[in-house]
Symmetry: C2
């Protein structure tokens, strides 16, 4: 099979004959000239046909070309200043490769259920393509930042006997003769063990929460990157998060201009994401919220409404640190200055996007960690290996988890996480 | 907390005072001088102490330092030609941060069950660290190759209503009120839909097979990269695989010399992995095997023994293409030249490593695909969305899946997949 010329390469082929293969975006005809816009995944191009050059049958085929049918266009690449890619194709022949009768997604408003039911076709829409490209660049930027900073990727298991943050929101599966396995909610506990081997490590993969939550900020399956660093404390952890988030925002701004344009994103919003980010203690945050009339008592976790209030009017993300111990996970290190709190932080994105990162210094004292496991009523026998890390050469270490889809939604300006992943999984959706 | 100097940075600090924090690899003392080898994940360094510089208590602490206990060493960086990193630390003080009483993994032979049970500690061994680094570089090389070639990463769901290659080897989980969900065996069917949106795409994540197989070449949870390309046929698919495998092998050879050394890998083996790879039809392969006395009939799939025989004496991977339709998956394109076969290939690694890639051109004809789904007795209603891809602008496309752990095992020379992933999952192991 002769490979067609990718549309992204046409600009460098001015004056050359080419064959373009792709899907019909739209067709417009004046009766003497027809404009066929074709997309192939690398871009889209306008192909111009003259009635005089074509026989009757081909002209009819052309003007009746169906939305999303596949075609092969032969022609010559011509410079064109009005084209977003600088060229168009002066076409001399057309072959329809496959029809697309009544393509379900039309250039009109569709309900979200209809779109999700047709996610396999909805993915072809310009906005969805832009989001997939922004997601890809976000992932690459995260990996490049971590690699340049000396991290090694150590992927952690999905199928696990130990449970992570909270039972009751776990997906379960039968595992041969070994009983029940759970789908990991986090790779953190495992990646901590790798930090003792490799110093700076991260995992980056899908995680699972069987939460009965229907908000626009929840998916049951989502991707999370979890860096973990030996000999780093909670302050260093926030420094690392700040550097990473700024690097990623700058990369997306730099490399995804066209896609951000498709999203209608205000680029100034991304340009504002530079160090330093403000750091506010949980205790101060609660005081501010109380002053502003919010009903919140010291000790309870912040809700989405509280997060939105704290970031209102800010152009950068905000760190909130040192939350109450009773509101947070068992593995967080007790704050020596105030044992009712732990050395942790959330990072709240502005514009109402809320928490995109949760991080903490980990409890590195064997006895304290064991006491916390018992306090929480967790199955002690499942955590023997995790406790071992505090038994054999324990070390201060910290890390965090950044939710990929929440970050992509924020950077791209998407309102709902369901558009930031190819096949979103929610409480009410497992197909297609 | 003052961050210690990473050991990897010591070579650039000759003559400077430093604090190194890490784990004790070993201690050796002559009575007047003591050599303490410390590792911190970025490398290891020898710290030299003189008896004359230390008080009695510190000397005792030093010479009794436990394997894998954590220490802070203060001293000055000195050039040293015998050191693999070019420097050692002339130490003047030592602080033991944490003991490590009777670290379970000693420098002696342990049984594999013992090691796997202590995988969280075994990871700290030099060979395991080397393997994790080679794995990381392999993943990075794959992603860089694909990105430079114009691919977009589109991750596919793990939780799915549709099944992939074969029922009966699926992990299942209850999904809210929506019935049973399955853990994906492949992202291919989904990534095909993304190829219609973005042209060249791939997914790269964990996949799951509940196979009751105990060989050294099987894991129940393993990572797979699955590129998929619009307008590419089976020959182009093999070209792409060849380019990618050669790129990855060259990168690992270039960037992981020390780690390959730790593995005892013969570097000439990797240097030999250059284009072109031989391409042999399944029909020719069976003829050769029959000539060599193997019991195999045309129509059955190749076993591990057949693969080993076909690659014996070869220094490069071998493509075997155009397998019988009845031995392969329903979605592979019928070969127009011989409808009893399909346009597919496996890529067999030399040295007995066997299949590392399976790929094919996909059936792009609606009626033929539907017939194959019916022939295989698959639940037609689950594949409506997949069939839609052949209904709305169908297009020739091909792709493949490369098993990460098999590739890492081959490149590194590891004999068993269980060492090539941080927490291997097998039929008999789900912990730690």
């Amino acid at each position: 099979m002769t490979a067609p010329t990718p549309i992204s390469e046409l600009a460098s082929r001015t004056g050359s004959p080419v064959v373009v293969k792709g899907w019909v975006r739209r067709i417009r005809s004046s009766g003497r000239i027809a404009f066929l816009v074709v997309r192939d995944g690398t871009g889209e191009v306008q192909c111009v046909f003259s009635r005089a050059d074509l026989d009757d049958a081909t002209w009819q085929t052309l003007t009746a070309a169906e939305h999303e049918s596949t075609v092969a266009v032969t022609g010559e690449v011509c410079a064109d200043k009005r084209s977003p890619i600088g060229v168009e194709v002066s076409a001399n022949s057309l072959r329809v490769l496959s029809g697309s009768p009544e393509f379900p997604i039309q250039p009109k408003e569709h309900g979200i259920d209809f779109l999700l039911e047709h996610r396999h076709l909805w993915l072809r829409s310009p906005r969805q393509v832009a989001l997939m490209r922004i997601r890809d660049e976000t992932m690459r930027a995260i990996r490049d930042f971590l690699h340049e900073d000396g991290f090694t990727c150590v992927d952690t298991p999905i199928l696990t006997g130990a449970i992570g943050e909270s039972a009751g929101t776990l997906f379960e599966t039968e595992y041969f003769d070994l009983g029940t396995a759970y789908l990991a909610q986090t790779g953190q506990l495992y990646v901590e063990t790798a930090a003792a081997a490799l110093g700076k490590v991260y995992c980056f993969g899908p995680t699972f929460r069987a939460e009965k939550s229907k908000t626009r900020r929840h998916l049951t399956e989502f991707w999370m990157v979890e860096p973990e660093v030996a000999w780093m404390d909670s302050d260093g952890n926030m420094d690392l998060q700040e550097r990473m988030v700024c690097y990623v925002a700058a990369r997306v701004l730099d490399r995804c201009q066209a896609d951000l344009g498709t999203m209608g994103r205000d680029l100034d919003r991304l340009a504002a994401i530079v160090p330093p980010f403000n750091r506010m203690s949980y205790t101060d945050a609660v005081a501010r919220l109380q002053e502003a009339g919010h009903e919140i008592e010291w000790g309870s976790d912040l809700g989405a409404g509280h997060e939105a209030a704290l970031t209102e009017g800010r152009s950068k993300p905000l760190f909130v640190h040192d939350y109450p111990k009773r509101a947070k996970a068992f593995y967080m290190k007790e704050n020596p200055d105030n044992p009712a709190t732990v050395k942790c932080n959330d990072l709240l994105a502005p514009e109402g996007y809320g928490e995109i990162i949760g991080g903490s210094q980990r409890e590195d004292d064997y006895d304290r960690l064991l006491a916390r496991i018992r306090e929480e009523g967790l199955p002690e026998e499942s955590y023997g290996w995790y406790l071992d890390l505090r038994k054999y050469g324990t070390f201060p270490h910290s890390g965090f988890g950044l939710g990929l889809e929440r970050t992509v939604a924020w950077l791209s300006g998407a309102q709902h996480l369901r558009e930031t992943i190819a096949y979103p999984r929610m409480m009410t959706r497992i197909t297609p």
